[in-house]
Amino acid sequence: MEQVNAIELKHVTKRFGEVTANDNVSLTLKKGEILSILGENGSGKTTLMNMLSGIYFPDEGEIRINGNAVTIRSPKDSFSLGIGMIHQHFKLINILTAAENIILGLPGEKKIKMPQVVEEINALTRKYGFDLNPMQKIYDMSVSQKQTVEIIKVLYRGADILILDEPTAVLTPHETTKLFQVLKNMKEDGKSIIIITHKLNEVLELSDRISVLRKGTYINTVETKDATVESLTEMMVGEKVSLDIKRTKPTNQKKRIEVCNINCRNKEGLPVLTDASFIAYSGEILGVAGISGSGQKELLESIAGLQKLESGQIFYHTPEETIEDLTKLSADVIKEKGVRLAFVPEDRLGMGLVGSMDLTDNMMIRSYKDGRSFLVDRKKPRKLASKIVEQLKVVTPKLETPVRRLSGGNVQKVLVGREIALNPTVLMVAYPVRGLDINSSYTIYNLLNEEKKKGHAVICVIEDLDVLLELCDRILVLNSGKITGVVDARSTNKEELGLLMTGTGEEKHKDE
């Protein structure tokens, strides 16, 4: 008997209004393999998977699971076919506990027997080597803990086919390694897995085969052993692209931002930044490293005037060599002082952009106050919007499309484009390439480098240590709110950074 495939997609098409997200895509997942799906942002990976998980319904095409043609009308149908999907954005209910999230929607006795459920979950976590407190509330969890809940949720349901949509986008390298170990265990267990990720080294490390999508169409599937980063990129983009960052020597370095002994606390009153001091110079890229939640966000937000400081001071050295005290000034006051500070926050649609507004209106967020007039001027922002769409190759049906509809990569391009358009003397970016495909990521790196060349100070938080080492001039390392070191990116290595990040390394300040 011939071996049946776990999943077969045949000629599947899905449109959203004018956008064709998937165009006649055919794809196969063999039993017991790990298949990676690659594609640029907006190439339709999530859409394709969502048709398997019952979120979307295909316009055309056929789906076969274990050799049988099926119709998946809802997530429930999908579960009953043994498919479990871990979505790109966590699908967890914040106010519920892990255990409650895990048993959500499952049949069973009317009354919930919580101790029993907890026991079952603990059995699973033991089996696969997770670390999870089933009674913990989701809102108290870190991203990796949430990720764990998502995976256990799928396992608890007894899924045979697992789909993971960019599970590593928000994980640290260490966490990623752990996750991959789990996935390999599951494969050993006979489960079939599809994983979507933009990190090509992960793809090469983990998967058996790789399928590539481009602009909604299926390109090809290759055996992992035959693939390289370059070949995959070419398949994705459709042409050869160079994947190196041209780092130049910093020139004409002057103090730009000076942070002295700042302290701040989060909403729960716990310290998130303790006695942090550092200097950012013009004409350099200062990288910020640290495991997630070490105070990176607060550090940038403090400078941007979005974080309440308990103590400490922040100074801005103007190109004209005067000093502005930014301590305890709010964002609007900083702007009024004429300080050209650009900031790309971590939360793109929750902070950097307004999801329901179109590109033009999003362009105005930082500049609408310009001019004396009581009325806003929309001419300039509209021009800027079309310029960014053109220069950064933003994929959008039209300028009037709400940015919420764009894919993650395009959203990020819009945001970075706008901030750079401010012609800032200081550019701060948090996780600039999170969720971005490799091509877009390099576009962003190049933009940062250009800013640096213009003599601007660039501060960027990046979780990928390889990129940090390749892109930055100096790297500042945070560990639970303390700066454990500022090192020269050219002379340090991953191990050193890792030690500083976990706080086991000795404090290091190479530039002082």
Partner: protein
């Protein structure tokens, strides 16, 4: 002593209608639907129960109390559920704006109540002539034997069965939401329908059931008012703004039906306090009537300072859900 006893009794009496409304609205809101039509639905529930009993007593020579009670209960249940269904169809299936549908439903429901109230008034031979005394007596019947105990009897056992039902419903709703699978699923739907959907919960079905059920429960508040409180008669707009207070109570109770119980008694008490406070002038009486609202505001401000995750409204409250929307 007598005064205090009567005051407590009447405060509870005033509170029960609000309690039904609040419990119904809590169940509804837990599914993410903000049903501002509850005030209207309570009118619809009240009048249909009354009409059921009225036509029964009118057409039967010797009406049997229990049958009258059953008919009116059923009528209320069906008609108010229907009100909830209209709301559900428009907001869940047609994804219309919840605020507009709710407010329009209130207009509709109050009109519905007053219209039919007037119509059966006419049939009965004029204002105040509607009489469903047999049925009303059944609704008003207090707990036998126990109600004879001095003080305790008055305080605890002098009410009709709807009063106890209101409390039982609230308690069991709290249990349902906290300890059952369906309750958990419902909460998930109200928090984040996309997540609930992805977990295989039939979001539409939960939203429909909770909203229709919630409306039916709220409608019982109308029935209580018309039958137990008024003794089976109708007065236009007689239910007043209690439906709105019920919605207010939901927030005050932090979406917990158990809290709504004491909250409704508090509201009830403050509602009639002006009658019991001695030495008030007409003007100060009017100021005293502000109390339920002012107290609500004060409690609201105090509780807003504690920003606990669990005491927030369901996060998807007021929003329509469309699976393919992003």
């Amino acid at each position: 002593m007598d005064l205090l006893l009567t005051f407590i009794q009447k405060a509870i009496g005033q509170g029960i209608a609000i309690l039904f409304g609040a419990t119904g609205e809590i169940v509804t809101e837990k599914s993410g639907n903000l049903n501002l039509g509850i005030p209207g639905i309570m009118y619809m529930g009240g009048i249909s129960g009354l009409m059921g009993a009225f036509f029964y007593e009118k057409n039967v020579a010797n009406p049997i109390p229990l049958i009258g009670l059953f008919i009116s209960f059923l009528m209320t249940f069906i008609v108010s559920a229907l009100g909830g269904f209209i709301y559900s169809f428009l907001t869940i299936t047609l994804r219309a704006n919840q605020n507009v549908v709710g407010l329009a439903l209130t207009t509709f429901g109050v009109g519905f109540g007053n219209f039919f109230g007037g119509s059966i008034s006419k049939l009965a031979g004029g204002v105040g002539q509607i009489s469903v005394k047999t049925t009303a007596a059944a609704f008003r019947a207090s707990v036998p034997v126990l109600n004879k105990i001095p003080i305790i009897g008055d305080l605890l056992f002098s009410y009709g069965f709807l009063t106890y039902l209101a409390i039982i419903i609230s308690l069991s709703m709290t249990y349902f939401l906290k300890h059952t699978r369906k309750g958990l699923n419902l909460r998930a739907v109200g928090e984040d329908p996309a997540t609930a959907d992805a977990a295989g919960i039939n979001v539409t079905r939960y939203k429909y059931s909770a909203t229709v059920m919630g409306a039916a429960i709220a409608g019982l508040g109308g029935l209580y008012f018309v039958m137990e409180y008024y003794g089976g008669t109708w007065s236009n707009n007689g239910f007043g703004d209690r439906g709105w207070l019920a919605i207010a109570l939901v927030i005050l109770a932090l979406w917990n039906p158990n809290n709504a119980i004491w909250g409704s008694f508090l509201f009830g008490g403050l509602y009639i306090l002006y009658i019991y406070l001695p030495g008030l002038t007409r003007a100060t009486q009017e100021l005293c009537k502000m109390l339920p609202y002012l107290v609500t505001i004060v409690v609201l401000i105090i509780s807003s300072k504690r920003n606990k995750h669990e005491s927030q409204p369901p996060s998807s409250l007021g929003k329509a859900y469309f699976r393919e929307e992003r």
